[in-house]
Subunit: 276 residues, 2 copies
Amino acid sequence: MTYSQKSKESNPIGVFDSRIGGLTVVKALMDLLPHENIVYFGDTARVPYGSKSPEVIREYASEDTRLLLGYDVKLIVIACNTVSAVALDVVENISRIPVVGMILPGAEAAVRSSKKKRIGVIGTSATIRSDAYTRAIQSLENSASVFKAACPLFVPLAEEGLTRHKATQLIAKEYLFPLTLNKIDTLVLGCTHYPLLKETIDLVTNHSLTLIDSGEAAARTVLKMLDDACLRNPSALKPNVTFLVSDIPYRFSEVGEPFLGRKLGLVKKVTPIHVR
Amino acid sequence: MTYSQKSKESNPIGVFDSRIGGLTVVKALMDLLPHENIVYFGDTARVPYGSKSPEVIREYASEDTRLLLGYDVKLIVIACNTVSAVALDVVENISRIPVVGMILPGAEAAVRSSKKKRIGVIGTSATIRSDAYTRAIQSLENSASVFKAACPLFVPLAEEGLTRHKATQLIAKEYLFPLTLNKIDTLVLGCTHYPLLKETIDLVTNHSLTLIDSGEAAARTVLKMLDDACLRNPSALKPNVTFLVSDIPYRFSEVGEPFLGRKLGLVKKVTPIHVR
């Protein structure tokens, strides 16, 4: 993984996801790296990736990567745990620039945080099934015990804005109770939608766990990589943050804004190779 | 809408949907027409259609139709309310065989059932936004009052098997309470996933409403159309029911079987034009 000779400090960071979850990662990047230009691509025409087979996800990820490379990005963030879990190597092989996935930064933050080395991981069915977090955590700390749970309803509940609803609390309790029985002290929110449910997750686990936001962890990795390579954008001007999607669905900006934590502004429709 | 000269009684009925919701329609067809051959196509590589723009849905519907025509179907059922609402004309224009959507049969059944002519309609955001049920109901009975509500969480709740869960009851109450205030006596379940939530919907509305299953209504329309054209399959043999999908996701059969009400059997992967 070496920086291409052509990468320049002012080139944007490329970020992609299947839809809007990745906007929580863009939020973390904008908070931590307020002068970086960013190009975000949400593959809204083919969302969700999580319910598709690994082969299809890898094909989509390679097309998304090629699209971002067309914008001369200096680094790519795979702002989706599912894609990071099953297609990180695809993105790395195609691009000659650094790639940051969600899994390793989240795993590193969890291992640093957990005193008992008993770590819980929650995510979509595809992420949990892939076992990528367990492998990453145990490669960093082989004595760590990892307990995992898929929480498939968290994504639609977050998108519908029921982040603190009684129904969400009931569902969260059922998903998380078996994990707490295993005496974990740290829980990785292994899906970019889950930061919106942080308060509810904290509530139903009696404020007993350190919650790891994988997007925030990834943003810290991006900062370090850019610093190491002297590629931070030195400009103090307001950066360009560009939002690209493959389809503009109804209420896209309305649903997306709580994820980004600010107004989305202009969203442009583009067509990656082979979409449709 | 005339039958093609080539259509034969033993040719299959073609049914398509974006994934598994349409299996409740196949169930209704198999119950009502137990000797008909059926080809079902679930476009699992591009699911869900409901969150996409009408232009994209129309394009997908035309490709799905062409795929089914390749199987010499004698009639096409659009087993998805969203597609029926925004792309019925596309399917009708491409095929030279009869097409049954979900909207008109559901609207007819509701008008027949409602004494007060005060009818509620629930569906996905896309179906409700299209206003297709309101137009269909009022074209049949212009004095009818139609009250509608989008219930976007019902699909993931049904797919996760939380059909009678306390959380589902809480969410259903919130969705349906405003409708009951309008003194409706009939409620159209305007999404093929919703029959799985029938008991919960009946419970939270105090057993006060006649619930119209749009899939059952569509099956009755299919029976009538085949009878009118003398195209019922006369064979008393066990029919062929073929399940085609554009991707085979994890747990597809497991999630699909409650929708079909029986074992799914063999599921074959096919690629409609332009998928991927």
